[in-house]
């Protein structure tokens, strides 16, 4: 008997620029791994500019967990190591060589390997960072066994890619990845799929897993929301979660004996001429693709979706965890008496604008803040878009007050920035909800370690 979870709270933002289900190829010459993509790590560089690397060669490791390796997605030369303020490591750029070359890993089927052996291969090859954990929403701690592993098989974010399309025809890799993961937990592996037609057979016919159905608006596709409803994280427990593309990469690791982080991304948003899907490799530079696809104008390039992605600029690289690039207008304009207008074209979750009378209207949003930052004034706003049994404003206030006990009591172990992204979107006081939450998660992790 399948479990069906109905999510009632939340918000589906309808935006223009959804990717058409057509797949192109995109294999540019430059790639990068960005330490800033990974919350809470302290990178120790293992390469210098000019070094030759293969796919799967270690670029840097985490000083906290030296076993966790971050490896090169392609074979080539380290062209540039970018640093920011205080010499913070920003990007390790690799110029791809003509010839593919890769570090060789064992090609045994996971069922013939012990848990320790599997873990070592995952850690060494560079696929481990794809496995994340709650609490704290960071890379999984290899020393701790998870009580369950969750794989969200759909993305409910605005203009999100269709995972059913992405995994289509990759059943063997997916199953092999699941087999490897299943050795790492005594608990269940949960595949959380959307209700309705069109769910890929790759998910539904997987073995050794439990299928859970989810229904309802964003953020129903967030693993945090799913875990909260299926089996919440309690103090002292650890749950792992990954995205289907990372399971495929793990599968390929054991089938092909190499780190092969190819992925499919959706190029979306109002600033793209022909939004569609592309087969590419993790960390790909996007400028060549944007050169032909970007419309004229002042646009922001976001690796990820509009709620949680990062602004990477025109010459930026695809983020490690992202399967989507969204391009939207910059909103650096003044609007005369804008707060007074009836608001036919105003994107809002509230009913204070006329646009709410057209529920199917698609919006072309921009990055304007639409107001000034204020203290918390309205109540009940966040709760409408957060389908969790958690009081978000109280949790955020506990973080601002640096009250560790209260943070724990109010459920900080269960949440991540992405779960609160809609709270930030709807906030009439324009409070930086995700940044505050990340501060709290970091504070908590430091306190508990």
């Amino acid at each position: 008997m399948a479990n069906i979870y109905k999510i009632k709270k939340g918000l589906d933002l309808k935006l223009i620029g959804e990717a058409e289900k057509v797949v192109g190829e995109y294999k540019p010459a430059a790639y990068a791994v960005k330490p800033v993509d990974f919350s809470g790590i302290l990178p120790r560089l293992a390469v210098k500019e000019g070094d030759q690397v293969k796919a799967g060669s270690i670029l840097f490791v985490d000083k906290h967990h030296e076993k966790i390796a971050f490896t090169s997605p392609v074979a080539g030369t380290i062209s540039e190591i970018m640093r920011g303020p205080k010499r913070m490591l920003l990007e390790i750029r690799i110029k791809k060589a003509q010839q593919d070359d890769f570090e060789v890993f064992e090609t045994k089927h996971p069922s013939k390997l012990s848990a320790e052996e599997i873990k070592d291969i995952l850690l060494r090859s560079g696929v481990w960072p794809g496995i994340r954990q709650r609490p704290y929403a960071v890379i999984a701690d290899p020393e701790k066994e998870p009580k369950a592993i969750h794989i969200s098989c759909f993305d409910s974010a605005p203009l999100a890619p269709d995972y059913d399309l992405i995994v289509h025809g990759h059943g063997e890799e997916f199953q092999t990845g699941l087999d490897a993961l299943s050795k790492l937990t005594k608990g269940k592996i949960h595949l959380n799929v959307r209700t309705g037609e069109g769910v890929s057979k790759v998910f539904l016919s997987s073995k050794g897993i439990q299928i859970n159905y989810f229904e309802g608006p964003h953020p129903s596709g967030n693993p945090g929301i799913q875990i909260h409803h299926i089996d919440p994280v309690n103090k002292g427990e650890v749950v792992w979660y990954l995205r289907p593309q990372d399971v495929l990469t793990i599968g390929r690791l054991f089938l092909e004996g190499r780190y092969n982080p190819q992925k499919m991304i959706a190029l979306t948003g109002g600033g793209i001429k022909n939004p569609k899907y592309y087969k590419t490799i993790s960390g790909a530079v996007l400028d060549e693709l944007l050169a032909s696809q970007l419309k004229e104008g002042n646009y922001r390039i976001i690796s990820g979706n509009v709620l949680t992605g990062s602004n990477i600029g025109r010459n930026g690289f695809l983020g490690y965890y992202d399967s989507q690039v969204t391009v939207i207008k910059e909103g650096d304009y003044y609007e005369f008496l804008g707060w007074m207008s009836p608001g036919l074209n105003k994107l809002s979750a509230s009913r204070a604008f006329i646009s709410r009378m057209f529920p199917n209207k698609k919006f072309d949003p921009d990055t304007n803040l639409h107001g000034g930052e204020r203290p918390f004034v309205l109540s009940g706003q966040y709760e409408k878009v957060l389908p969790m049994d958690i009081y978000p404003v109280y949790l955020l206030k506990a973080i601002l007050a640096q009250n560790i006990d209260k943070m724990e009591q109010l459920g900080i172990y269960e949440v991540a920035e992405e779960d609160f992204a809609l709270c930030e979107f709807v906030c009439a006081s324009k409070i930086e909800v995700q940044a505050i939450l990340r501060k709290g998660l970091d504070m908590m992790q430091k306190e508990m370690s």
């Binding site: 919440p232 309690n234 103090k235 002292g236 427990e237 976001i302 509009v306 709620l307 992605g309 969204t326 939207i328 910059e330 909103g331 650096d332 003044y334 609007e335 005369f336 008496l337 804008g338 007074m340 994107l347 809002s348 979750a349 509230s350 009913r351 204070a352 604008f353 949003p365 990055t367 304007n368 803040l369 639409h370 107001g371 000034g372 204020r374 203290p375 918390f376 004034v377 309205l378 109540s379 009940g380 709760e383 049994d389 009081y391 404003v393 109280y394 009591q409 109010l410 992204a421 809609l422 930030e424 979107f425 709807v426 906030c427 009439a428 006081s429 324009k430 930086e432 995700q434 940044a435």
Partner: protein, 387 residues
């Protein structure tokens, strides 16, 4: 608009740090952002943001207040001409009231905003929009004969003591507008009670025979039940009272605006209504004095009960903030409002005191609601450890 924008851009540096008028930076910003939604873009977190901001929120509340305000102006004229026995046309009536009410609004806004601007500059942040609503609520809950200096003093007291002393918008415990009224109620009771306060001119001239300026509440408090106006008059608002409170129809239009836009909490309004009606029924059953025998429907139509639960109890900062808490808070506001007015004749208007009282208890109600959530989570953890 381009030329206006250019002009603002030109003079802006003078108001910024190092400029000639840097002390007026907050004031300049307040006017600038009033005219133009700023060009600021998101830097971290969500790249797109909801079009709803504080200005939109507060202006929606003001729109919701407009029907009651306009009727209040007209009724001020209507009551005046009634008291003098003069027939007057619609526009003449409205104009008379407009001229009476406008100075009160101007005084409230000028005093309140001046203080807000000063505090914003001292604190170094933008001027908050909260006072736009407070500044209109204050005149609407005043008797029309209130001396203007008293409005000024009460507004200053409310903004400084009830709001800025607590840390400004979002941090205050009490609804500032109600504090202004409570201040006058306790400091200058003569001006806000009795029969002469509510009808323009009555404090100077006698009314024609047969006209009493008494509000339905004071009629009820003196057990003159036969003098309470008909339900119709109570509903449409052809009665003496505070400027904005008399027309229940206009208030209901405002309530509809708040509920449809989602800016005001229907949970608080509904539960307060149930609380008020419930206590009204209870008093009916006890029936120990004539006041208790007034029907619950008449009870909620008298005085500022509806105005209070629609516009004052729903103030998001001072009300309960959790959903469960809102039901409890609202119910108690309604119940106490009727209880105070019936059981304590010294305070004919219980709504004001009831809301202020519940403002104090709102954080406590929320505390228990949140505690319940915490207990649930703790229990889950303990069970898991034992299992």
């Amino acid at each position: 608009m381009k030329s206006l924008r250019n002009y603002l851009d030109k003079i802006k540096p003078r108001f910024q740090k190092g400029g000639k008028f840097e002390k007026l930076q907050s004031t300049f910003e307040a006017f600038e952002t009033f005219l133009f939604v700023p060009n600021r873009v998101t830097t971290q977190g969500s790249h797109i943001r909801d079009a709803l901001d504080m200005k939109r929120t507060m202006s929606t509340v003001i729109v919701a207040l407009i029907p009651a305000l306009l009727f209040g102006m007209w009724n001020t004229g209507y009551q005046y001409y009634l008291s003098r026995g003069i027939e007057a046309g619609f526009w003449a009536t409205f104009w008379f009231g407009f001229l009476k009410v406008l100075p009160i609004i101007v005084v409230s806004y000028v005093v309140g905003l001046a203080i807000e601007f000063v505090f914003a500059q001292i604190r170094g942040h933008e001027v908050n929009e909260g006072f736009l609503v407070t500044g209109l609520l204050i005149p609407m809950i005043m008797p029309v004969n209130i001396p203007l200096w008293m409005v000024a003093v009460a507004t200053a007291f409310a903004v400084i003591i009830a709001k800025e002393a607590f840390g400004g918008t979002g941090m205050n415990v009490f609804n500032p507008a109600l504090v202004a009224r409570a201040f006058i109620f306790f400091a200058y009771p003569a001006q806000i009670t009795g029969e002469k306060a509510w009808v323009a001119g009555l404090n100077h001239h006698a009314a024609i025979e047969g006209f009493s300026g008494a509000t339905p509440l004071s009629q009820a408090a003196s057990f003159s039940l036969d003098k309470i106006p008909s339900l119709n008059d109570l509903f449409y608002g052809f009665i003496p009272g505070s400027i904005g409170e008399t027309s229940k129809l206009a208030i209901l239009i405002g309530a509809a605006i708040l509920i449809i836009t989602g800016i005001g909490s229907w949970k608080i309004m509904l539960s307060a209504l149930i609380g008020g009606l419930g206590i009204g029924f209870l008093f009916n059953m006890i029936g120990a004095n004539p006041y208790m025998e007034i029907s619950p429907l008449t009870q909620i139509m008298m005085g500022s009960f509806l105005f209070g639960i629609v516009f004052m109890a729903t103030d998001p900062v001072t009300a309960a903030q959790t959903d469960t808490g809102k039901y409890i808070y609202g119910f108690l506001v309604g119940a106490f409002a009727i209880t105070i007015r019936v059981l304590n004749p010294a305070y004919p208007e219980g709504t004001m005191l009831s809301i202020l009282l519940m403002n104090v208890f709102a954080p406590l109600i929320d505390h228990y609601v949140v505690e319940a959530n915490i207990r649930k989570r703790t229990k889950r953890t303990v069970q898991n450890v034992n299992a």
